[in-house]
Symmetry: C2
Subunit: 333 residues, 2 copies
Amino acid sequence: MGDVADRVGVSQALVSIVFRGAEGASDATRRRVFEAAAELGYRPDSLAQGLRRNRSRNLGVLFSLRRPFEVELVENMLSISKGLGYDLLLGPFSPGREQDDVIDELLRYRCAGLVVVGPQLHARDLEPLAREVAIVEVGRDVTGGLLDVIRNDDAVGTRQAVDHLVQLGHRAIAYLDGGDNPGAQSRRDGYRTAMSDHGLDGQIRVVPGGYDENDGAAAAALLLDQRLPTAIMAANDPCAIGALDILVRHGIAVPSDISLIGYDDATFGRIPGIDLTSVRQDIPKMARLAMTALVDRLERPDRKPVNKTLRPKLIVRGTTTGPRERSVEFSVV
Amino acid sequence: MGDVADRVGVSQALVSIVFRGAEGASDATRRRVFEAAAELGYRPDSLAQGLRRNRSRNLGVLFSLRRPFEVELVENMLSISKGLGYDLLLGPFSPGREQDDVIDELLRYRCAGLVVVGPQLHARDLEPLAREVAIVEVGRDVTGGLLDVIRNDDAVGTRQAVDHLVQLGHRAIAYLDGGDNPGAQSRRDGYRTAMSDHGLDGQIRVVPGGYDENDGAAAAALLLDQRLPTAIMAANDPCAIGALDILVRHGIAVPSDISLIGYDDATFGRIPGIDLTSVRQDIPKMARLAMTALVDRLERPDRKPVNKTLRPKLIVRGTTTGPRERSVEFSVV
DNA sequence: TTGTATGCGTTATCAT
DNA sequence: ATGATAACGCATACAA
């Protein structure tokens, strides 16, 4: 920065003003500073900036690189935070790097706020941290004390899916569970309650599964050993995809033999040929809410925690249709 | 840090020594420093550290969050860089953030070295930068001037795949192309040359495609309008998966009707039910080579550029088998 | 083994 | 509108 100042013949302070877009510099000076900077290939030093600024302009996000839903969320957050004038540092979980490690690294970079997406530790482990940094949880099932929470009404989502299937005439509807992943419990509860409300208690089947293709495939394999349902709901899209592959490879056509519904409806990871009926979470909106909640909290630390629940929406596509005749075989509870 | 020093009753410099693990502090002091730090919840400030150290301990990696191969590479690099004592900053491409922007942000954080994975700009655009920071390219088809290059012998990979299929009796082998993605040209060339070497010039069919499921599905759809081959090679795994879904949905069984081979063999994104025959790139090894090349260059800036090409390995799994009888129909060139 | 002093690049305060 | 100067948290050279 000194070089630029020398080149223009002004003080460092002025160059700083120009680069921050702060007031107190003539237009002529601004132009000359930018010119000189371009010629010298000058680039502001984020490290020094962060050090000097009392309140850091760094935000961090904890997530899993392997979950399309989270990746898409992060992509949205990246552009939003840029618009808000913050740097968003990525803190991916990876083999051997658990939540604590990632948080630690992010904090070393002076992140004043953290968005936590994945599951990992329980929310209560974050509460103490919330006194140190602003924390927003996304997609978890918690109602935090000090934490802001942006979540999806997962139970409503699975309920919509059940309603849809029942309306199509299905009764034997199996659920491929999401285990202890974020939102999984609500989704499972929503399925159970909805089935019960439709008088289908006897048809409730929750198959152990998870959030990735492996889990879906394993769950589907379990189903194959038993009497098949006429419809399957999966805890999320990758799970549905994994199940679908197993089904198809065993000669079971979707949707003519079995209807299939996923959850998330992330555009990334969506396989066009499959055209999966799925429960959509409004990812761009969740990203925006999370980032604004975080920034808002930084500006007003004593604001009372936000707890925003979004309503998902079933997107009907090509993997659901009415049950075959053989479904009658199951209809007797 | 001053707080810790006060608490223990020593100077800041000593605390610094202890935290860096440098020599010059008694064991007793070390213990007391760590104790005090734990009590106060002290955490070293990466920003200040980076600012003070002349040679930064920050590295950066440019990649796409949406490509499983690259994500897996990055996951490996994360743990490796940690072991080497460097921080690896993530610079993901995302909608609206092109290569130049990402590089700029990484450089602001004083990354002394960059690993560039994705395609985006051509290598010649990086050459000028290479005087400013150490740059390692991974997976590209370039032979750089100032840049280190770690790559896979893509042509050998597709050749192995062709050899395998020919050995099984296939002749009508179509190739779903990767467009202008990294490595795609070599893979295509390898296919062409291998086919030619087997006297199958007349069977060469390169279908326009790309590196994700969408591309694979679209390419497969094109194939469906024509006479089907007995085997399909895809430019990478997602492309193969996309094609597979289209095939299966049209009642074409894999491998009994058509054999299918992918490329990359990343464990992440691998769908267990599919059991795809694929050309494996040794991702952990590539990650290690890239990181060590980068660190090595930082320590010896004048070292002449490394250009390491790894040999891929065909992993035969469940999607390839001998052609059906009807393949005879194509066997007359 | 330990302490003192200086500077990294930037921002912010206070002058001018 | 512009300049001088201190301070951010830390690492390092040097002195003790």
